[in-house]
Symmetry: C2
Subunit: 320 residues, 2 copies
Amino acid sequence: MTGEETVARRLDGKVVGASIREALGPRIAAFSGATGRPPGLGIVLAGNDGGSEIYVRNKVKACDELGMLADLRRFSETASVDEVLDCVRRFNEADEIDGILVQSPLPSGMGRDAERRVFGAIDPDKDVDGFHAVNVGRLVQREPGLAPCTPSGIVEMLDQYEIPIEGRQAVVIGRSDIVGKPMAMLLLHRSATVTICHSRTVDLPEVAAVADILVAAIGRPGFVNRDFVKPGATVIDVGTTYVSDRDKVVALFGADSPRLEVLERRGRTVVGDVHPEVEEIAGALTPVPGGVGPLTISMLLSNTVRAAELRRARSDVGER
Amino acid sequence: MTGEETVARRLDGKVVGASIREALGPRIAAFSGATGRPPGLGIVLAGNDGGSEIYVRNKVKACDELGMLADLRRFSETASVDEVLDCVRRFNEADEIDGILVQSPLPSGMGRDAERRVFGAIDPDKDVDGFHAVNVGRLVQREPGLAPCTPSGIVEMLDQYEIPIEGRQAVVIGRSDIVGKPMAMLLLHRSATVTICHSRTVDLPEVAAVADILVAAIGRPGFVNRDFVKPGATVIDVGTTYVSDRDKVVALFGADSPRLEVLERRGRTVVGDVHPEVEEIAGALTPVPGGVGPLTISMLLSNTVRAAELRRARSDVGER
């Protein structure tokens, strides 16, 4: 890039995440003051996945820092689905647990159907991932409930950077249950005109290039290039693919990129769905890493506090 | 119109509705044969709304014709919400009732919150309108469940007329829980590229005019004019507004339209969201009346049979 070119404004997930956590402080204090206990997150970790270990450690640490309870239950690689289901049921019944998180993936030995069964067993009122059908329905119908962390975090980020949503054209690439579909619903409820694209979309770059807000959530590193982006658009990159192939990294970032150093040091580097060249055309852009990723834990904590508040409100009006 | 102009193919809801009912015959026979009872629809009708009387009468008649059970319970204009809720709970528990329909609107004396409370009390497995949060969630996640009648009927109609959906651009105008949002989801799951527009959409005609399949569900008579329609597009008109103003009818249909006769005879005529001039530019079009409307009862019957089959399958595997 030359000095003359415009570079997209960087939307910093760490800054937004920190601000989300800061706003939770008084709500946690109010809840603890009123109930005599902090909001509590029950975490299930099964097996020995290295990535899961790190994610869970970070989640426990984040709870500790905010004065929330984190109750971590570990299961071995060879544990049965029934053991995990029992644990989920105990969390469902435990009054001090407001949110339940089952770290994905479950060990493959538990069978293909294990995640669906375990996620489906979580009490919807404690489903801080927002995956349960009831919460999906509540989200679509705009009833109080728990929305998936990543899309909620993205809306929070747009708000904090004062990027307008109402009346804007938003295009979501990807139709997953975890990101694409809930993202489309949240943007729709904020009165964007929303288009959902996917692998069967014809002329995808042309469709994407109408977007004022473009969300890429397909898991194809560097797929969204400048042809997909209207100049000045806000581009949100949800992709996090680990790339180990040096040629691929050079092709995306150039032969003198600091990425190559990361690659050599760690054996891999995390790459988003958005091609680096988009930085020269977008108005604002979330980097990978450091964009959407850091929002997720903050939104998990936020959902846990919200679940605690909603459960308390429901028990106050005698609905439970 | 001159003889030289192309006129849109007419998508006939009566024909499609009849074909949906015909296909239900063997399923109803199989269910009745296996269980010793026909699929059953419990209907709640409260108050004296003239339109509701007609709708309910047609629903009961349609059940009778197909050999299904229709159990109609009537409540007076001054009945309490609790009486209606009791009836819904009895239907929930009754084994011979597979689907429950509460005719909207409930009497205004029951309070603003009555419909939300009553619809929310229906067992999701018997919710043949597909309004319950669990069914909305199942629809979004593509789990087996009950989808709202109007959008399901529209997909059925597109299929019967062999109008391709996959890879096509679909635009839905309107974001209601009953039509707009479920319609978008159903088209998305059939691999259309889907855009949802609404009152806050900027340049609505321009956005709509990319559509291969355009669904209008906003309740504004004649609003969607030729500027909204790409030549050759399939246009689905969900609007049903009763218009009594003669000038409005003349403005829409012309001074020599047979509509004026209807207006004089009945004091009103039903008008869709799509302007009559669209007939000259669309490739295919659902008329109002006679398009989407006649599909609704058929899809209600279809959902009741589906609910009966799903309940039976669940009780077979011991999930209930």
